[in-house]
Amino acid sequence: MQSQLKLNTEEMEEQLDKHLDPVLSFRRSAALPAEKMASLTIEQQQFGLHWVSVIAATNAEMAYQFAANYSNAIKDFKQNLEALESWIVESMSAFDKKGLQLSMTVLHDSQKFAENYFLKQRGVTLDEIKQILATFVCGLSGRPLKIEMADRIYTDTETLFLPNLIGDYDSKEENFLYYKLLTVYLWAQNWYGTWRYDLDWTIQSYDDSKKALLLFHNIETIRLLQCVKYKLPGFYRQITHFLDDYYQLQQSHHWQPVFFALSNTNCTVETSINLLEQYYSLLDPVHLHFQGSLNTDEVEYIKSLRIISEKKLFRNLLSKISAEKKQKQKKKENTNEQVADSEFAIKKIPMLPEEQFTDAINYELSLDGQVISPSVEMQSLISSIYQDIGEIPEDYLAAAGPGQYISENDQAEDNGDDVWSGVYHEKDASFYDEWDHIRQYYRKNWCVIREVKVQGTDDDFIPKTLSKYKSIVKSLRRCFEELKDENKNFKRQTQGDEIDIDAAVEGYADLSIGMELSEQIFIRRQKEERNIAVMFLVDMSGSTKGWINCFEREALVLLCESLEILGDRYAIYGFSGTSRKRCEIYPIKHIYEDYNAEVKARVSGITAKDYTRMGFAIRHLSHLLDGVEARTKLLISLSDGKPEDYDSYYRGEYGIEDTRKALFEAKRRNIHPYCITIDKEAGDYLPHMYGAANYALIEDINQLPRKVTDIYRKLTT
């Protein structure tokens, strides 16, 4: 057959002429491409001709350019026809989207495309494995660390920055393992105290501070790998083949004393600092590919913010413990007299030899000589402070006075009324009472509330979100379908599909002893009606601007998708406002409204507004829920921080107590309140407001969309 014969230059030109005729002329022939293609194998020739004909059907010029570049591209793509095909398809799709110009760029740049193609084939992108790494690093000890993409490999002590793609190794497994190496290495910097020392100050004391930093980094890497080797022996075995440079260093007789000095796992960052001083003039820094860089400026900035906020939080928690104790003592002694201030003490408990492998930090916190068991929040705070400072300093142990959040209110009291004077918004508004915990009574009709229409936005936010979370949406659908279809056997029914043997036997027995036969002897199978009504209260305060707002909206899209399947009645309201005179509720979906295009546009149109006065919003939604007939009523708030408002008195304890009161009122109406928050300090006030088991803290904002739906499922099954 002719098609199986290899074509010579003339035959090839003849074939090409057939397809490229519209763009050939007296000065431009197919001779050159034909000459190049004549040297290819039969298979490659056939493949090339096939695609010339396909491309020519779309655009002859593009086909000509393809033919001209084809033989070079074959080399770039290492004779891999599958790879070639993806390059061709990419160029055609570029033509469809942006025209000839872009498709030509793709066709001419076959080398770059091939490099990327092979990199992607064996490489791993951070997006693919970010979640796995984040969970993995969470399982290791220490404060939760986020994973983010960056051009450099480093940590700022709260986030691990990793490259977008790793494809330097032969397989996906190997490239993933390299990501794991980077993750563990950066985690080790945080956990084993690289940042506990003021590095900037130390490094600046050297004449060549750049060299000092690089050398310190090398020394610290040796120390960290020793710790990792001891703590994670399996991991260390897995990564040995990535450590060639490191082992070379180990063999170098200049470096051997450093390795020897760091061979003990009890070495600290101080050991590395001392070694730097000792060997600064004797050693030159080396480049170890996995160690990235030390970003001292960023770390110092993040650390200083964290130290201040954690100190505040720690002292606040102590003051709460102290206040509780005083309260109990007063009750016990039945007195109103002032009780003496408590004294806290903390000491590190030396670990038993058998416990040392766990790496845990054991502290004993005592109040007036009595050991107290710290809450989970307190434990993780102690762990984080220890990571930064290496101890709990004395001044941390002075409780913050009667409620730290009160101290935030020291500013002069602004009056909301001055700002919104007159009858602004009072017309057609609803009024709600507000709880004043200092006076211990309600301020009557204190909050002026209006439902404000949300301007819908008709953009592609919903389809984009659904596509972004495609796999999650699929599994949510499956999961919620199962919930919906849960068949229940209702025993002892007056009618049904089957006889309830237990009931029938009992009935027969009753009959035999002279009692009346019960009619309830059937089993009825039916889908259990969930009879749940839920309202979501979404924080639209200014602090949610940007990412948080975006994730909140995404969470709502996934929620709506799931709840539509489940059939639970649900409503979504946003809330925000400025001062008591301007409390605004933004209806996004009413309880009986369908999840239609208008609702979708409103979800898409949710924007960050002003402040977070919460009490009125809870009262308003409780009022709305009260009017709904349902066996179980839920009020779920999505929030990013504690209640606060323009009225400075509302910040701190006043706002917390008012919200708490509003939640009590809701509970009295048989409504279950629940809060989902991303505020890391939530442990400080949410258990007080909602109760310990009635809130969930989502540390990583990226997780909000998937977690919210998951929490709802668990909450209602």
């Binding site: 969470c138 290791l140 492998f357 056997n489 909450l715």
Partner: protein, 272 residues
Amino acid sequence: MESGSQEVLAEEYVIKHEPYYEAVNDELRIFESAYQNKLPILLKGPTGCGKTRFMEHMAWRLKRPLITVSCHDDLTASDLVGRYLITSGETVWVDGPLAKSVRAGAICYLDEVIEARKDTSVVIHPLTDNRRILPMEKKGVVLKAEDEFCLAVSYNPGYQSVLKDLKQSTRQRFVALEFDYPNVETEIKILVKETDISPDLAKALIQFAHMTRNLKGNGLDEGASTRLLVHAALLIKDGIDPRTACKTSIAQALTDDTEILSAINELCSSLF
């Protein structure tokens, strides 16, 4: 060792050999005191932390029969109290496990009581206050509990479902004992004693358990329980590769989420 299956009446099921239990705090003394004072007991704690084993141990210590009922959402009051059955055309009353316990002065342990139907509280409440009686509505009698009778219930407060919560009117009748995962030292002892593995292997398993417990609230509802560690240890002792053993008996038991599973398996492979 006794061999072969044996049929023993529930009310006569006395534990003859001491079930291994490692006390963590003063739970043994508190249980004994509550028992002597005829107070019902509520065990709170995550799954697999030793609640059931504790009950077996206490039954052995107090030399009382132990009747355990695993509660489920179809369990009604009459399942606990008893019902009439027909034998040879005649009606015969058959006691339920609670009635059997009350008569025999046994310890009745209602495991995961929160799962049972709400009507069970009708029979639980009169037994848990000073009346200590069991109303048998069908028979029209009340059964006075023997002095040795004891009611214990357990539940896992980790569930955050609004549909499943122990009502105040029920929970405020019990002496509550809180259970949690044992500390490292105790957990090593438990693993070594239960499975006869080396302390080093026990340490590695516990380290792995701690890693999974760090994930509580971050993808997992609960971390690996001591029970799961015992399972993994038994498999490893039987020659299964530690990574495979942890994967099958711990990771897969904890979650179905593929990403979390991958992360847990990575944690496991970092240790073994």
